[in-house]
């Protein structure tokens, strides 16, 4: 690169830059003396000068129209790691010929030529030892070509947004445009449009100096010529000259067994999630992380170098002669009972299995009919080509249709994707795209969204649609039609395959999104069966007990538990709309004795209790168990609902999408603890087979302590249980964080919640890790002081947040009052005095708002992050307006 640029480009050290003269390869090979001039960024010389022993080489290949500058953060981070005493990986980031600051050869270079070129370069560089390839965009295919050609050296492959297969759908629009005859020269040579379009894909936008650095090698039409050639090399038909090379690479990928890492920016108009899906289909063992919100230039959008360095295979120690034995996989649990067992056992039972109160009139489905429908639908799905492992997204509200769909999928080994409508359209759309379902089954509303938002997957309607409507929505089949097909197939002697094994994937459940973007949580059949078993054991659910709930995923578990389930009449996307009467109606209709409510529903049931009739009240007197889970509700609120069900024991279990039941406590136990000195909400002791440990926080609020059962210590809560999730869906880095520093033995999960254990082994929740207030006296969980403040008569709800830098934060109270405040701001002196008097923690300020911002799903989790940001602005003297 030009000398004057060497030390001026942000993030790039001129010492890495070198030019290598490489004998021509393939088409260039005819002339024996022909040398090609390559520009590369290479940390080898720096590492050598530093006396480092090189662990291996990362060969990084950029795409079009970038250059090796794309990889600068990995070069920096790898040198930092080496200097800190970690493995010294050499990074060789090339500028491909015609690109960056490498030679303009005047030869159009197709895919096969570029792979050969890269091989000639690595030969000339005399790279020894293990090599991990790293590629982005069309550099991905080229790097994989090199990988397949050098199996003896290959130690791993890492890819950022790329593709190896063009059969994944139409060539994306931006490239189609650029590829059209006539447009190509104009767009890529005469103007910098393609370059600028690509750079504009960065989210957030690139800083001006970085943008300039990307432009630096492409000044002048002649230097940009290869950008056009590169686009033209994307195979668009069978007769394209690069088609055989790409097909060979795509096929070869299936043979690769080396570790693989895929880092993906989903907001990519070119390489969408379907290409990620294709890569994973070829490399099912790959670790993958989708950076929600990042796009095509994922290397610029997020901090990623650490993820690669942490993943790089650990070089074998010189004296390690024997490979460690792979851990023998434990034999499948002989006691494993498939999720569909209870349903099959009651296949001849004419009594009611599922009641849907939202239908007019309410729909009742017997065990016999449900079992039959599941069998028919399972056969129909198989006949329609749905395969074990296919992901099926069910955009259907709780009720008999959803239940049949779920159990049919589970029966044939298709993976059920359950995302709650409470995520909202944008959140749901993110979730569905991330899950990349092969099939979407939906009501008309869900299918309309699928069509409008371009969600992936074959579309199947839950009901029969008129042909024009079905065509308009791109619907290829309906559940009734599939059932008819299945019925026919069964009648003709078709048999369903054996139940999926315990280790097969069963479901992807999406988190509520109340604590960040919704994450897909993977469960195997064994883990989902363990959820069933822990519920049965803890709640004592038997065939005759019955279950009333509209709360996913519990609403789906009735048939697995072998007990009758009823969904009350409510808008499932807004549990806060559930009324006391609707609960009573569902109890009456189903005769259930267990009622399971979300916290938001608890609030509204209490609010609407006045509408209950004498008959309603009589029905509720038959309830023996009341549960509220998902977020803590106050004992007072739970008690007000429990009063409607005098025969019921009220439970407030603690759990999360990743582990639906961790601890449990009853209302009388909560009452007995009213005078305890412990801060936070007591959620009781671990349920059977579940374990809880605490990882202490440091001065900045990071959970770094070795997990222990020491009482009285605030820290992050770790949980372990047979019914714990398997992993997150395509969130490798989140998986790493969730299992970081886990104790030996068992499967563990960092919850992101903070709290402590008391001397009796009970767990007390004190808030979210991200909301811990760090001051010199130590970390403080917000829930303890919030509860104290809520004891002040005038306060309806309170949030305690920290202002200031980590380690020296001060606590600020934000309160919602009766009567409601008219505007957000500083609390009047009298209110501030009352709040401070109620709170044992020093508060630097008391703020008041008309209403605390909460999440939609639970309507109970206060958005402390938004409040903290608002309080910080207000208390810095800025114009802060109202929170959110």
């Amino acid at each position: 690169m030009p000398a004057e640029l060497r030390d001026t480009l942000p993030g790039l050290d001129g010492a890495w830059s070198r030019v290598v003269r490489v004998p021509g390869a393939a088409a260039d090979g005819g002339a024996p003396d022909l040398l090609r001039s390559w520009h590369v960024l290479d940390t080898g010389p720096v590492l050598e000068r530093g006396g480092h022993e090189i662990a291996g080489t990362v060969l990084a290949v950029h795409g079009n129209p970038t250059w090796s500058y794309l990889w600068r953060s990995l070069l920096t981070a790898s040198l930092v790691q080496a200097d800190a005493g970690g493995p010294a990986w050499r990074v060789v980031a090339v500028d491909q010929l015609e690109m960056g600051f490498s030679e303009r050869t005047g030869v159009v270079r197709g895919l096969a030529q570029r792979v050969a070129d890269l091989g000639a370069l690595t030969a000339a560089l005399e790279i020894r030892g293990p090599v991990v390839t790293l590629g982005h965009d069309w550099g991905g295919a080229i790097s994989l070509g090199w990988a397949l050609a050098h199996p003896e050296q290959l130690a791993g492959i890492a890819l950022l947004n790329t593709a190896v297969h063009r059969g994944c759908g139409p060539i994306p629009a931006p490239l189609r445009l650029a590829g059209a005859t006539g447009v190509l020269p104009a767009a890529t040579r005469a103007s910098t449009a393609f370059l600028e379009t690509t750079l504009a894909l960065a989210r957030p936008p690139l800083a001006a100096p970085v943008r300039e650095a990307y432009r630096a090698p492409y000044r002048g039409a002649a230097r940009r010529r290869a950008i056009g050639d590169f686009v033209a090399d994307i195979p668009v038909g069978e007769n394209h000259p690069s088609t055989p090379a790409l097909a060979a690479i795509a096929a070869g990928l299936r043979r690769l067994r080396v570790p693989a890492l895929l880092l993906w920016g989903p907001r990519d108009p070119i390489f969408s999630d379907r290409y990620l899906d294709d890569l994973l289909d070829r490399m099912p063992h790959a670790r993958v992380h989708r950076f929600e919100g990042a796009g095509h230039l994922v290397a610029e959008d997020v901090t990623w170098a650490g993820a690669v360095l942490d993943w790089l295979p650990v070089p074998a120690a010189p004296d390690a002669t024997a490979q460690p034995e792979p851990e023998p996989k434990p034999d499948p649990d002989p006691a494993f009972r498939p999720l569909g067992s209870a349903l099959e056992e009651r296949a001849e039972d004419p009594r009611v299995a599922v009641v849907d109160m939202a239908a007019q009139p309410p729909v009742r489905v017997s065990w016999r009919l449900l079992a039959r429908n599941v069998e028919r639908l399972a056969a129909g799905l198989l006949a329609a080509g749905v395969r074990p492992g296919d992901r099926v997204s069910l955009l259907v509200p709780p009720g008999p249709t959803l239940t049949a769909g779920v159990y049919a999928c589970l029966r044939i080994g298709a993976v059920v994707v359950v995302a709650d409508a409470g995520l909202g359209v944008a959140g749901l759309s993110r979730a569905v795209r991330g899950a990349q379902p092969d099939v979407v089954i939906g009501e008309r509303r869900g299918l309309t969204a699928a069509r409008a938002l371009g969600w992936p997957g074959r579309r199947i309607s839950a009901r029969t649609l008129a042909a024009p409507v079905a065509a308009a929505l791109g619907v290829s089949a309906s559940l009734p039609a599939l059932m008819r097909d299945g019925d026919r197939a069964l009648a003709e002697g078709a048999r369903l395959p054996p139940h999926p094994g315990p280790d097969a994937d069963a479901a992807v459940l999406f988190t509520s999104g109340s604590t960040g973007p919704a994450k897909g949580v993977r469960y195997t059949h064994a883990q989902l069966a363990a959820v069933r078993d822990v519920l049965a054991a803890e709640l004592g659910l038997r065939p005759e007990t019955g279950l009333v709930t509209g709360f996913a995923p519990f609403a789906l578990l009735g048939p697995a538990l072998g007990t009758r389930s009823a969904t009350p009449d409510m808008d499932v996307s807004a549990p806060r709309t559930l009324t006391a009467r609707a609960v009573a109606d569902a109890v009456t209709a189903s005769g259930a004795t267990t009622v399971f409510l979300s916290p938001a529903a608890v609030l509204n049931v209490a609010r609407t209790a006045g509408d209950l009739t004498a008959n309603d009240r009589a029905a509720l007197r038959g309830v023996t168990q009341l549960l509220s889970t998902g977020a803590p509700v106050s004992a007072q609120l739970l008690g007000s609902v429990a009063e409607l069900m005098p025969a019921a024991t009220a439970h407030s279990p603690y759990g999360m999408t990743e582990c639906l039941l961790v601890t449990d406590i009853t209302l009388p136990e909560i009452a007995a603890l009213a005078d305890a000195d412990d801060a936070g909400v007591c959620v009781g002791r671990p349920v059977h087979d579940a374990q809880v440990l605490i990882s202490a926080l440091d001065g900045t609020g990071a959970a770094v302590g070795a997990p222990t059962r020491d009482p009285g210590m605030l820290g992050e809560i770790l949980v372990s249980a047979p019914h714990l999730k398997d992993s997150y869906h395509r969130l490798h880095l989140t998986d790493l964080e969730a299992t970081r520093d886990a104790p030996d033995g068992g499967r563990w999960h960092r919850t992101g919640d903070v709290g402590h254990l008391d001397v009796e082994g009970r767990l007390w929740i004190e808030g979210r890790l991200a909301h811990v207030i760090t001051n010199p006296e130590g970390p403080l969980g917000p829930v303890g002081p919030e509860q104290e403040i809520e004891r002040a008569a005038v306060v309806r709800r309170a949030a305690v947040v920290g202002v200031g830098p980590a380690g020296v934060q001060h606590a600020v109270a934000v309160v919602e009052t009766h009567p409601q405040a008219r505007r957000a701001g500083l609390a009047p002196a009298a209110l501030a005095d009352q709040v401070r008097a109620a709170c044992g923690t020093p508060l630097v300020a008391v703020l008041v708002v008309p209403e605390l911002p909460t999440d939609i799903r639970h309507n109970s989790k206060i958005d402390r992050a938004a409040l903290a940001a608002w309080a910080q602005r207000l208390l810095a003297g800025e114009r802060a307006g109202a929170p959110r």
Binding site: P805, H810, L826, A829
Partner: protein, 323 residues
């Protein structure tokens, strides 16, 4: 120890001299008027007078230098003569007299450049960037004092932030006076968090600074109560303690800063010795957050504030009740 306290007739200086004397040290004071502190020896005169300064520093082990020109208005040269040259004179005399410890009482305003300071430590003093003649000359004086730090003379700069308490003729009295005349606006919502220091705590910190200068020297430390409060709450608390109406009218901070700048320019050419009703410095002080990380201060001085804001307000109310 034999300790010279300059500026002991001022509100803070008097408390500091008394506190050091109470701790068993032999205290001499230097200021133009009698200090009124029991049990100390007064030397009358100005820190700008070389002969007086030489006499006062003679035989001392330590100097606590509070004397300064504190005002929102006045000539730049006059601030420089007292705050910078006076400090230089005292440092020279102290060094000549073999004094071993020198506590330069500075101000957080030396590093307040008009932006919010949130949870920071003692940022470097900035004689160019600080706002107003007082802050700029105090910044220069602090840098000057720290440049004298040596194995023979341990120099420590201490910046107490917004000192208040019973008998304060500066901050509290002015606020109360303006509030009584209903001329005290709140800027914006008055929500900016500001640190303050109850006078007894400030005096305790000065004593700790003298006693710990041998180990803590060579740096600047901000001293506060460590209990920031919204400015409206702090001013309101003072007004309630004094039994005067709590300010309720609000002025946008940006407007106050603009008006303050204009008033400053008018006052600069206006004869008379009264204080301007609003200056840019004051407007910035009242509309931006400034609160501090006290960890280094407390560790270096082995000191903790003893009187909370709440207790301080009670004592202030008692004072006004008695008055």
């Amino acid at each position: 120890m034999k300790v010279l306290v300059t500026g002991a007739s001022g509100f803070l200086g008097r408390a500091v001299a008394a506190r050091i004397a109470q701790a068993g040290h032999e205290v001499t004071t230097l200021q133009r008027r009698p200090s009124g502190v029991l049990g100390v020896r007064d030397v009358g005169g100005s820190v700008t007078d070389a002969a007086v300064v030489a006499r006062a520093t003679q035989g001392q082990d330590a100097v606590v230098h509070l004397a300064a020109k504190v005002s929102l208005a006045g000539e730049a040269a006059e601030f420089a003569r007292v705050n910078v040259e006076g400090t230089r004179r005292l440092l020279e005399a102290a060094r000549a007299a073999g004094v071993q410890r020198f506590v330069q009482v500075s101000s957080p305003s030396v590093a307040h450049l008009g932006r919010s300071l949130v949870g920071v430590g003692a940022e470097p003093a900035d004689p160019e960037g600080a706002r107003g003649h007082y802050a700029r000359t105090k910044a220069a004086a602090e840098l000057l004092a720290l440049s004298y730090d040596s194995p023979e003379l341990a120099v420590l700069a201490v910046r107490p932030h917004l000192v208040w308490g019973p008998g304060d003729p500066q901050l509290v009295a002015r606020i109360v006076d303006r509030a009584r005349r209903r001329r005290l606006p709140l800027l914006d919502q008055g929500a900016a968090l500001i640190d303050s220091t109850y006078v007894d705590n400030a005096a305790g910190a000065m004593l700790a600074a003298v006693e710990r200068a041998d180990v803590a020297h060579g740096r600047a430390l901000v001293v506060t109560n460590g209990e920031p409060r919204p400015v409206a709450e702090l001013l309101g608390g003072m007004c309630r303690a004094a039994g005067v109406p709590v300010p309720s009218w609000r002025v946008p901070g940006a407007l106050a800063r603009a008006v303050g700048g204009a008033v400053e320019r008018v006052w600069a050419v206006r004869p008379g010795r009264d204080e301007p009703p609003m200056t840019r410095f004051l407007a910035e002080q009242l509309s931006t957050a400034h609160w501090f990380d006290q960890r280094e201060t407390r560790a270096a001085l082995s000191w903790q504030p003893r009187v909370s804001i709440e207790e301080g307000m009670v004592r202030l109310a008692q004072h006004y009740g008695e008055g």
